[in-house]
Symmetry: C2
């Protein structure tokens, strides 16, 4: 059956492509800032193709069209692209050409590739240009925008000031540090378009992006001026006053393009072209500016939480632990008695967090029961939702945004009897998690030196989990915060050295496709160890691990001791904030696995 | 008091420097191949300065002279340089200029620096040239050789063939692989001057270098020719026949310089300029050759031991284990009853190895008692030797060269009562060693990802040990074999990926200056794990660890199990080769720490 809606839209696009003399048009679902979560206004690819997956680009040629996406989305894409005439290009399959190779092969010499340059990064287009030299990029063309009648508007949530009791540091202080960096780099302008760095720099937050409490805005900082390009109507009076006292100018959101259009030739512009979009980068290059392509210096500063932020993170993790403990108590008690589903327990987690003061979840809650637990980025929908039965494993990966911090925690819970294999996997994952968290290491140690500690128990048991062991986490900012990461991959903008104040997740997993999935995740704060010159981790996350799913023999004596010590902390921190019934349950749930005073 | 001998030699050198119009002369103790151990013939710096340390260079100017050496040798250099007029430059101290900076500062514009270009690598001189652009290098000048009357002759030990029961692979097969590599690199000549790679390639061994069973020789391989430049008189009849059947030509040792002097302009020469000396490199460059500076391809091939070599290594480690067990038995039994010293027990270890068939030690045996154990590269001499008392810790790091393999093992032994602190350190070091050896990891894992496993128990206890955790080991070749290494440092010529057949040492340590030193070292062989796609280590070394110095509680349940399993293997492998008395002792020494059948 033909998908007339999509075919009609592609026809309209092709009319306009012909008018502009384009050989092809490229569309992605992406905002103008490279954000992880993309608002409806920006979902051009979805609008044109009907494919709703969160990754994939659409290339439309006069006669044909192709969608490139990775294996996570192949099934969905096959279904959603049926009848559209769009070919599916399965990224990762041997015979699939890379998009840039396809451009080379299919576009005529001297061809023109159109796209909305605000939705692709300067770095992406630099790569494209390097490999496809036979034609021209035309980044000024938002063609779908011309006929997208019911396009959702740009988000317009109010933005607000975070005071120093939250941020621990004034925006003025941060600006001073930034200007010192500009002087060091001999840069005339710093262009900042990454929304979380911008929010951090100005001590502001917003609600324009799902899960990330940020504001749609651009910023430009020079030795004399600080400019914030955003819709003034969004700014609270308090925030406006604060910006004024900072000497910052508020200019229209689109004003950044005018500003960059007036940059003088030879002007040295510091920017991170992985985030700054192509329309800005190309515009600056056209004006003759010299681009200093560097990681945003703000990114690394932001990753090292100051004393106030550290204390705030501890505080919100107690609140979050209360919410999660209540959730565990409810789910363990009610399963098999009350009807529960993945969706209902996911919603319950979100609700319990809100009761503790969370503004909302820090990402889409993952509640995966049984085989769904093995789907790493599973998000239960009305179609996939399943009832929970009093057996097997439920994986809950969830987090909250609080005014003083961000949380992210995963627990794998036995809803009733579990198989020996499941117990083995839960235990080995937990063991790796606890082993890494217990590491003491000399200052100067790089994160990737430590990752194997978390992997080791799993490596003896079975395949690797195929995702990194950890990621940086913001403080009332993005739950996945660059540049900190705990994986064996090239880093960008970070030497990998763990510094006191950095926050990262510790989340090994094990996924048995079609059967069950296991992940155990705590957030860790890097803190000085007792010994001079050494560092260690502090568990920020405070919530019990399900003892019912653990094999103490396999966890080992040391693992048991680590778990018992952690559980002691959890109980002491949370009990007073629970009902008597919940506290009693928690006492049982955190009972030592190892008999007290027992020694080898 | 003036050191007239040295002053006289420097005066003779300066006369010749003036004759040659030199602004300075540089001397090092180094052979023409970059070998780790340097023969007496090559100790020019020692001859000129009187300083006998194993690291350091001497720079002589018309009026002054300086010796650069690192902190290990400062005390010794101060003593040995007294009265010579040579200034000591302490490498590592802030105010000490680098040699190349000193040349910049002290030599006149257009100055000439003389040296024997055979004793410095092409890479070293390339760096020197890059940083000191104000003058000329003159690498043709062995000035001390002109007046060194009693210079020891070049070594002239006989060389011999290793048959395929030792090498597992014919030289002809290796040459074929090498020529394929030459074709791949489009190289006309491969110049090989690293003595162990050369020995590996031609399946020959010699006795020209201390501890390393290699022959002084150069080699050049082209698609048609294979040339071995060495003294024909050293070659056994069998070896000559084998070289002939291989189509290899034997040419005089110095003939390599003639050969390179006839290379045609544009000729592509593959060489590793970290090993190929400057006289050769400069000569080739002067002739207009194109140098393809690469790690010797032979190095990585050599590092992956074939099936025969693996089995041979296992075999010699059983012999070596017998020797070391006899040593442990004797030392533990006799200490406090018979007079023992560091030197005597070191010699005993060497003797016991010879009884098991070793040709000699694989490096200078380190027997460090008490505070001497904390001196990482300690070598007992008549002056430093101390008697052993029935208390405290003795560290023995030793190894043997056998016709079928090379060993390297360290044990830290309690000679009687030890302090709680000593016991703690011994246990933590052993634990790290065993933890690393027990790792199972996916193929593709890099060595440096795993190093932290060995360090982890120590990191909680105290300072890092300041040396790498492990090094590659040859098969009847160098005990320190490039490029395999287990440390956080840039590698050269190796991607760091552990491959089945690689052999490396696992040797964490702990050094309490002025009190005691601990190191525990086994050699490990990388082998496939049971699980497809995974690898693990096999302990090659078979010798007991001293249970008397171990705290089972601190070793932990898992550590105890690992030690017990290892000790079971040791006893089973060695008992039948020991006297009844020794075997009975070994049974006690390898008794499980953990009661059988005990669980958790």
């Amino acid at each position: 059956m033909e998908n007339t809606l999509v075919r009609d839209r592609l026809a309209q696009l092709r009319q306009r492509m012909a008018r502009e003399g384009l050989s092809a048009y490229l569309a992605a679902d992406a905002d103008y800032h490279g954000s992880e979560y993309v608002g409806e206004h920006f979902k051009t690819r979805t609008f044109l193709s009907g494919f709703t997956g969160s990754a994939g680009v659409l290339l439309v040629l006069p006669e044909t069209a192709g969608l490139w996406t990775d294996s996570r989305y192949w099934l969905q894409a096959e279904r959603e692209l049926a009848g559209t005439g769009i070919d599916l290009f399965r990224i990762g399959e041997k015979e699939t050409p890379l998009l840039r190779q396809y451009l080379k092969d299919q576009l005529p010499e001297g061809g023109r590739l159109g796209f909305d340059g605000r939705t692709l990064s300067g770095a992406y287009c630099q790569e494209l240009r390097k490999h496809w030299t036979g034609g021209t990029l035309c980044p000024e063309l938002d063609l779908p925008g011309e006929f997208w009648a019911d396009r959702p508007p740009l988000p317009h949530a109010p933005a607000f000031l975070l005071d120093e009791s939250c941020t621990g540091r004034s925006a003025s202080d941060k600006l001073t540090q930034l200007r010192q960096e500009l002087a060091r780099e001999k840069a005339d302008v710093f262009l900042l378009t990454a929304l979380d760095d911008l929010a951090w720099l100005f001590n502001l937050r917003g609600g324009d992006v799902a899960y990330n409490p940020v504001l749609l805005a651009y910023a430009a900082v020079t030795p004399e001026r600080a400019m914030l390009f955003t819709e003034r109507a969004k700014l609270s009076a308090e925030l406006l006053a604060s910006l004024e006292s900072l000497g910052a100018e508020v200019l229209p959101y689109d004003g950044i393009y005018d500003f960059c259009g007036q940059i003088e030739s030879g002007c040295r512009v510091l920017l991170d072209h992985r985030y700054v979009n192509e329309r800005l980068c190309a515009g600056l290059t056209d004006r003759g500016a010299e681009l200093l392509r560097r990681p945003n210096p703000t990114a690394l500063w932001k990753s090292v939480k100051n004393e106030t932020e550290r204390e705030n993170m501890r505080q919100v993790h107690r609140l979050d632990g209360v919410a999660l403990t209540k959730w565990l108590y409810r789910v363990k008690k009610e399963v098999g008695k009350t009807p529960l589903t993945e969706c209902s327990v996911g919603a319950l987690a979100d609700d319990l967090r809100r009761e503790q003061g969370a503004i909302g979840p820090s990402f889409a809650t993952i509640a995966g029961y049984g085989p769904h637990g093995a789907v790493v980025h599973y998000e239960a929908t009305a179609e996939t939702d399943v009832p929970l039965e009093p057996k097997g494993l439920l994986l809950l990966d969830s987090g909250g945004q609080y005014r003083r911090g961000t949380t992210d925690v995963t627990r794998t819970v036995a809803l009733g009897p579990v198989t020996e294999e499941q117990r083995r996997h839960v235990t080995l994952v937990l063991r790796g998690m606890l082993d890494l968290a217990a590491a003491v290491f000399p200052a100067g140690t790089r994160a990737e030196q430590l990752e194997a500690i978390a992997l080791l128990p799993l490596w003896s048991a079975g395949p690797d989990y195929g995702h990194g062991t950890g990621h940086g986490v913001g403080c009332f900012l993005c739950v996945h915060e660059s540049p900190v990461t705990l994986r064996q991959q090239p880093r960008y903008g970070w030497d990998g050295v763990l510094r006191p104040g950095m926050v990262l997740s510790d989340e090994p997993g094990y996924y048995a496709a079609g059967s069950h999935g296991v992940r155990q995740e705590n957030l860790l704060l890097v803190v000085p160890a007792e010994r001079e010159g050494y560092l260690r981790f502090e568990h920020l996350t405070l919530a019990p691990f399900d003892r019912d799913a653990i094999d103490p023999l396999l966890l080992g004596q040391e693992g048991c001791r680590r778990l018992d010590a952690y559980h002691r902390r959890v109980y002491e921190a949370l009990a007073e904030h629970l009902t008597a019934e919940e506290a009693a349950w928690l006492r049982e749930a955190t009972k030592p696995l190892e008999p007290e005073g027992d020694s080898r």
